[in-house]
Symmetry: C2
């Protein structure tokens, strides 16, 4: 490893810079009337030393592939981060004073990638470090780039299990390019943290999780500098710097005092604090240069997607795996992650073909989604999979993905009561609601191999959060190879000119709807059957036309709770193009299921062919 | 501490019992055609020793307050648990062979409290131990009972951060009544675990998190017995037994072999295995008796709920805190938990009055919900609070609550863009969707202090998962003290005989709707304004009548994404009582918000009074 060039300041200049960072943290938050100055002040010495002597960053080219990354896992210390940007000369004092936390400005209350120097949005504690693991995985294994990922963590957030998932994966993958700095200022929002200033406990935990721990006085510049310089050495473990600090450091009236979390200093106190800190200043500093490296454009071929025969039995989870592997053959940007169930989700097929682009996250779904988030910021097309039920574990990380402006592709297998014998703990019955409520998301639920493969290919090209729900069991192929499945579309599988009722299903309930239509046809009732493979966006036009054509009579059946899934999407779609005289029967799972066969449970839930046919007859009888 | 009476078997008898547990695990899963025999066989020696010599349990009185608790955090080892029940004489061999994993039977694929000896449902890995922390908190701090909580964990699930949240809280609260047994069998579902048989790493981690670790050979009966006996001693830390085991132990063909996770043995292999294990047997054993203790009925008084004046400014989060404190005054069963933000959520008011019934969970929302789950199983009325946004962190635990048949009361503050300057990471915009999609849930969203207090009181009496969404800012009181707010009801705040349009809001958007109605009135448009404080169940009748009376014209405004919230509930309600000629405008948050004032962001989201009035005018013009 090359040695960091100690450009920028020498050690004697750091205190002045740190004072400026504190002063600016106070000024911006007082000016905004909200924010976290004291949480910024505790880490100012750490950041002053880091930015001026260790962070290798080309501030004029935030996208430069050799740049280090700086993640504020304690996102509420945004005043400090923005003060760093001012000191680097990329944010003006005017923006700091007039833009912070203001409407339509980019210096938001917590950092987001609206700013070009921010990789991922933080502010939900316990996410920045897990996200950073994804960036470091890319640096070490995919980009093979010399950058380091520096993460500033709060001590309060070390109570989140996700932080330990992150450290576990960091050590498992030998991420010596990841430097975690914990600002142990002892005070959380409402009082002392769990461990307070018990640095020894932090050290034991961090070391037990496979990292190299360095305990320092977070206000001793020489100690800080020495610890940060360890990142230049030949590390054999991820580095974690545990810095004992004082909240509010630099202004005696609030130092280590309870009751000052998340509160700007009132104007008079702010003036006093600034005076105590030596007044305002406008030091500019840039640290060592980033290595000049190229990142070659990937060579992307045309994917040779798997094909499936109409009538051929295939589980959509298996079709997913085959499709992902095919995408991976053609596009080196495609990577996959799984939560220790790749033999069930189908992802195993990708692993077989591209082991070097697969990251096993073991049973740590939060870290899996966070790693996918970090990988996405580096331009990879990351697919993450687990059972649909267990993806709910990562709901807060999924919620934050649109704030981070990343593309997340997630696949949940074993959805619904269809899984049968394993019982309710393994049945995803809320996953559609979770993903549909995610800002800007796409939600897909194919019923056969052909549609699965086509939709997986489109997920790779879709921005934002996209989700595919797959099914455990094998069901016959419904479409010829080559059929197209546009997002926001639907397919009409059975229809005539004089249909009596529309049946809408997706996944397993589409097969049940087809069976119901056959039964109804024997009884003289003509049912139109629609495959709503695209739940968000839903095919408003196609579904409205079908419902209109069938006298407003429609049965929607889904293997999901009644809220937030297919039925809700159909209703919202119909509301935007109102049907006069709507008669809708919504069949969904209610009650807590037990174990059983698929058939028994689909019957129990009232979403099988017999119940769909019966609901249709009831609508016709009026 | 009293010494365990070593009733039941002496050590020489344990191997026979362990063989029976293995044989029965094989028999039940082979008979069912699915299940996890090899994951059961690794832990059979542990359970044979535990049940016969250490578990103090009155099998004929599962509710006896002195009973120990046995939680299978590795819920997939259900064949072993059910074999234990057979050996205790409470489940027949016939039920084991014909009931396991069958429809409408109680021996489900993963254990649930359908069985009287099961405290909480498991099967989503990483939840049993956190739930058990809640049971142990009750035992130590509330019941002050001598019971112990024994938890069998898998090694794979130690990768879940929630397990470390649990151990952290166990040591923080000194839960020496909690015994964690980790079955380190080295193999996960799709191959080796993260740490394999690196018992030293487990030991370092467990000790670093404040527990006493004991490493044993999990097939050496004497070692097991000695380790379990430590639970009888004077512990100063929670006990964690790290047992090195062999997956599939007892049948040489599958021992420590990959590819046998979650697979029953085929009939021929099962027969061979049973022969190798010495054949079938029907040993019956009961271990030491449980201490005979009483659990007095709590004395519950009549709560003197806080009152708020009409027009008085109060934040609903503050009203929540006052209401909870008042409930706590009257009912000793009421307990509270918070994720280190009790000064923001309002829970601080309860803490002030009842510090002994408050459990600070620090920033560990998964553990918070798990502890509430465990406390609920012990009869406490637990309220858990954090920012609405951060409750999503616990989505998988919330999903499992109905499977555990527990009553969970959760309150999410700082909902929506209304919070303003802090930005999107802190804005709950998906919380209603999450809670509404939860089986059997109740979702409430009051707009003033009076309704908040009334609804908090009802939450205490409501079974299943109930959720209240509260708001950051102060808004004027809308109701006189004493007004009633039935679940599933709504309030009409403005109406006349000839209204033109219905405006539906909840929380902050109700105040905006009222303001819109005033503006519309000035312009000659009569708007009916409805407070939909009960989102689930929604007031189908009241809302339908209002919409019908206003020519099918209705504006719904909500500070939430369009999916899964108030608008979706209204649509579902209207679909069940169809309106001819429905004209609905649904105003909800789309796009990623930034920072700003409440007013700026409500305007940006298009959900403020001006947008509601404008939408109403469009409906009337349209």
């Amino acid at each position: 490893m090359s040695t960091t060039q100690h450009e920028g300041f020498d050690l004697s200049q750091i205190p002045g810079l740190a004072a400026q960072l504190r002063v600016d943290s106070i000024r911006s938050s007082t000016s905004a009337g909200s924010g976290h100055p004291t949480s910024s002040m505790s880490a100012a010495d750490l950041l002053a030393t880091l930015m001026s002597r260790h962070l290798r960053y080309d501030w004029d080219s935030p996208e430069a592939p050799g740049n280090d990354h700086l993640v504020f896992s304690k996102g509420h210390a945004s005043p400090l981060l923005y003060a760093v940007y001012k000191a680097a000369g990329v944010v003006s004092d005017q923006e700091l004073m007039n833009g912070y936390r203001r409407f339509d400005e980019r210096l938001e209350g917590h950092p987001t990638p609206v700013l070009p120097w921010v990789d991922v949005a933080t502010g939900s504690l316990g996410q920045g470090l897990p996200d950073a693991v994804g960036i470091a995985l890319s640096g070490k294994y995919l980009e093979k780039a010399p950058y380091r990922v520096w993460v500033l963590c709060g001590d309060s957030e070390m109570a989140e299990g996700s932080m330990w998932e992150a450290l576990d994966k960091a050590s498992h993958y030998g991420l010596t390019n990841l430097v975690t700095i914990v600002d142990v200022n002892r005070l959380g929002q409402r009082g002392p943290t769990d461990l307070g200033w018990d640095l020894e406990s932090y050290q034991r935990r961090v070391e037990a999780f496979g990292a190299r721990a360095v305990v320092i006085d977070g206000h001793d510049i020489a100690q800080i500098d020495h610890a940060l310089a360890e990142a230049d050495g030949d590390l054999d473990k991820p580095l974690v710097i545990l810095a004992k600090t004082v909240k509010g450091k630099g202004f005696s009236e609030v130092e280590d005092a309870d009751g000052w979390h998340g509160k700007p200093l009132p104007q008079d106190k702010a003036e006093k604090a600034i005076a105590e800190l030596g007044g305002e200043s406008n030091l500019l500093v840039r640290g060592p240069a980033a290595p000049q490296i190229d990142r070659p454009e990937p060579t992307v071929g045309t994917a040779s997607m798997p094909t499936f025969e109409k009538g051929e039995g295939v589980a959509t989870r298996k079709a997913y795996g085959a499709a992902l592997a095919a995408l991976g053959d053609a596009d080196p940007r495609v990577v996959a992650l799984d939560g220790e169930v790749s033999n069930s989700t189908g992802t195993g097929t990708f692993v077989d073909g591209h082991p070097e682009r697969f990251f096993e996250m073991f049973i740590a779904e939060q870290q899996m989604v966070a790693a996918a988030t970090g990988l996405s910021t580096r331009g990879h097309i990351a697919f993450a999979s687990s059972f649909a039920a267990f993806l709910t574990r990562a709901a807060d990380f999924i919620r934050m993905a649109p704030v981070s402006r990343v593309d997340l592709r997630m696949v949940g297998s074993h959805a619904g009561v269809e899984i049968g014998a394993d019982g309710p703990s393994q049945m995803g019955l809320e996953d559609l609601a979770l993903f549909a409520a995610t800002q800007g998301s796409t939600v897909l639920y194919p019923a056969d191999g052909t549609s699965t493969a086509a939709l997986v290919q489109q997920m790779a090209e879709t921005s934002g959060v996209s989700y595919m729900r797959t099914t455990r069991g094998e069901y016959p192929g419904l479409y010829e190879a080559g059929e197209e499945f546009p997002l926001g579309g639907s397919k009409t599988l059975v229809s005539s000119e004089n249909d009596d009722v529309t049946l809408i299903g997706a996944g397993v309930t589409l097969h049940e709807a087809l069976s119901a239509a056959a039964t109804l046809a024997e009884q003289g009732t003509r049912a139109r059957v629609i495959d709503a493979y695209s739940i968000k966006p839903i095919d408003v036009e196609g579904i409205s036309a079908a419902v209109e054509a069938t006298g407003g009579r429609v049965v929607v059946a889904e293997d999901h709770h009644a809220e937030g899934g297919l039925g809700a999407a159909v209703l919202a779609g119909l509301a935007s193009a109102p049907i006069t005289d709507l008669h809708l029967a919504h069949l969904a799972v209610d009650g807590v299921p037990g174990s059983g066969t698929s058939a028994e449970l689909l019957d129990w839930a009232g979403i099988d062919a017999a119940h769909i046919a019966s609901a249709a007859r009831s609508l016709l009888e009026g």
